[in-house]
């Protein structure tokens, strides 16, 4: 018989089916055994009446959670069954027995972390991983449909990233190299040949902060585009975010149910225009809310959260003070104290999801900014050279997929959005 997924068997709805998977739950008596079988698509109840399986009864009776089996039987609707269908088994083969599965509802986060290699097969983790897959691919689909090319930057770099102290050092034969924190500087070089590019790659920050929003290894979904200004860049960010959320809502009704996500909270972001406010306006809003921020300071998490209280969609905050921004974010000619940049803040306390800017092409300005930050110009030699040969206005941004997934799935911690999270204290398995 041809095997189908449990979901396909359910959509068939009646007649003979053959399915295979892992035991999600089991209970029974001396006369009858009920097994809830899990595969990657769904779970379904299977009934084994003892009189039909006398010879195999001992084997069936001993089956533990997570054992793998192959089952043939007849499927029919049954309101009492967990997912509305039941298979009455006529044949079973035990493929892989299971030891007592070391995960139960009472495990704390730390123990679930230690057993991540087993916890990852849970329905909750599988639901998140499926949504993650759709988020990643929808990011790429969006840009592909807009005529962008995929591009990968190098991961091993000699130095010259944004934040020295958070770089991880790699022993590279007889020298030191570092793990890159963005593709951007290299992407800008490639932009001069391909014009419109995007890419998703791993990113590393030696973050000591133990917050629910930080990992030491995470992924960045980045884009870079020729002949683009700040306002067009923000258009891309807004349209892309809507595109990704819509795709997840379309494809993942069941997964969002497993996660008990209140999807109504995502709907405004698929329909309403995201507000765009300047840093100056943000300060006024915070002031009214009782938070006085000195002009020139970057916004901290607590301030971002306060600011977002009045919004049910992401908000773009633009024109941050140039001094606290990276050297490649150019002055706004209309207000040189500010930079042509934005952060997209997420609702429901999700903070910065995207950061982007126009890119400076004024080599002298960049050198000045680098020196002011105490950086070594030598590390940026190749990057500064790019602008010597037909520089053009261009812009780009980076999206943190883990943070976006955390928001979409309504999770407490960014750790659950990635297969095997890495933090200062979590590095195994």
């Amino acid at each position: 018989m041809k095997y189908t997924s449990i979901k396909e068997a359910m959509s068939k709805g009646k007649g003979k089916v053959a399915v295979r998977g892992w035991i999600h739950r089991e209970r029974g008596s001396n006369k009858i055994k009920f097994i809830v079988l899990r595969d990657s698509s769904q779970v379904i109840q299977i009934v084994f009446p003892r009189d039909k399986f006398e010879k195999q009864w001992d084997e069936i009776d001993k089956l533990q959670v997570e054992a793998s089996i192959i089952v043939e039987g007849s499927i029919k609707k049954d309101k009492r069954a967990p997912t509305g269908y039941e298979i009455s088994a006529s044949k079973v083969e035990v493929v892989g027995k299971s030891d007592k599965f070391p995960i139960n509802k009472d495990l704390n986060e730390e123990l679930l972390g230690d057993r991540r290699h087993l916890w990852i097969r849970s329905r909750k983790m599988a639901a998140i991983m499926k949504i993650r897959s759709t988020v990643m691919q929808s990011f790429r689909d969006y840009f592909r449909e807009k005529g962008f090319w995929e591009f990968q930057g190098p991961i091993l770099i000699l130095g010259g990233a944004e934040e020295g102290p958070t770089l991880f050092e790699v022993k590279y034969f007889d020298r030191k190299m570092y793990l890159a924190q963005t593709w951007q500087l290299y992407a800008e070089a490639a932009m001069y040949g391909l014009e419109k590019i995007y890419g998703i790659g791993p990113t590393f920050r030696a973050e000591k902060s133990k917050t629910s929003r930080h990992l030491t290894e995470f992924w960045m979904a980045e884009m870079e585009v020729a002949w683009c200004d700040l306002s067009e860049l923000i258009d891309y960010a807004e349209e892309m975010t809507k595109y990704i959320i819509k795709k997840v809502l379309e494809k993942h009704k069941e997964e969002l149910e497993i996660l008990e996500r209140d999807v109504k909270k995502l709907i405004p972001s698929t329909k309403k225009k995201f507000p765009r406010i300047t840093y100056d306006e943000a300060l006024k809003i915070l002031d009214k809310g009782g938070m006085k921020i000195k002009w020139g300071k970057d916004l901290r998490t607590v301030e971002e959260e306060k600011l977002m209280e009045g919004y049910d969609t992401p908000v773009f905050v633009t024109h941050y003070p140039r001094e606290v921004m990276a050297f490649y974010k150019p002055k706004d000619p209309k207000n040189p104290r500010t930079a042509l940049c934005f952060d997209m803040l997420g609702p429901e306390g999700n903070g910065e999801l995207i950061g982007g800017s126009q890119r400076d092409i004024d080599i002298k300005e960049m050198e000045k900014a680098l020196k002011a930050k105490g950086e070594n110009l030598k590390d940026y030699k190749y990057y500064l050279e790019i602008s010597k040969y037909g520089a053009i206005p261009h812009a780009g941004y980076g999206l943190g997929p883990e943070r976006l997934i955390k928001w979409i799935c309504g999770l407490d911690n960014v750790k659950d959005t990635i297969g095997f999270p890495r933090t200062m204290t979590r590095y195994y398995p």
Copy 2:
């Protein structure tokens, strides 16, 4: 006026157009200037008669290669022009001047490497990067169409990869971690929840070998699938390879022309079934060709090349001696000295493109193999544990996209298939 790409302007074919890009070539006299303009889509000849541009003549006359300009004018067919069309300019704006571009035809590989941040905008590199983009995305499209989910494994691992001596060490706060060489061990854990998965991520090997096929940082396109045996696995590998090559041939006629690739050499691989031979058969073929290999030795590059002389498509070599294979490749029950594994070798001297196998689920066998290789069982604790809970037959493979791109593009060296190559001696820019 609305800007279009040069390609769009050419497909319009007549009337007013506005394009922008970089100067690819320039020549002229006191009376007229010819510029070949490049953007990411194409190149086109633009004519500036002095009498129309008297006021800007000095500026136009001084334009150097790679300066960026915006041009309006009338386009028409012209057989003498390099790409069959010519724009007669009516308006020009110089966006970014250019210093003398430090790349010319006489540069050797080493200097081109030093100037990679500029060389990457060349038509040759842009053509390769576009094909790379299509290869990467076609890999994902193929598996997405088959119902697979995208999955990312961790990059930072505690140890326990295939080849200790080629691991790069990372200073991870107060301990050592390593850069992963495959997602596989983690993907197998995730397979128990998602069943069918694929992913593309960076991979690192501290390779001292300076061959045309080795990088220290490259990408791996991997898949892992539940309930799959060796023969079905090879079916995936063959169908996927054909899928990717067909997509490149469909979309990249122009790029393959720029690369002067003889596309006829790729056609057999889109049509013919790829031969499947065992290691034992390979040894017989080599013997006939005058190469005696002792049974039990892995095939070296020179032997792979010899073996492939008679083929114009990739060839699958299966059932290598188990002893020289990784610990997770299971014994063939019919011939326990061999493993249920394959390599897909590319034609035209391109060597191993894909390596894959069924996965062992016999914990004792794996422990024995690990010990025989002098590995520390502790490093594999999490991995060996996975098989304790409902193990199932499964299989997977890894494709080296850079090697596939090298073959498809007909390149001499794998270095040109990646934006910023890394080798023992090349780490900048």
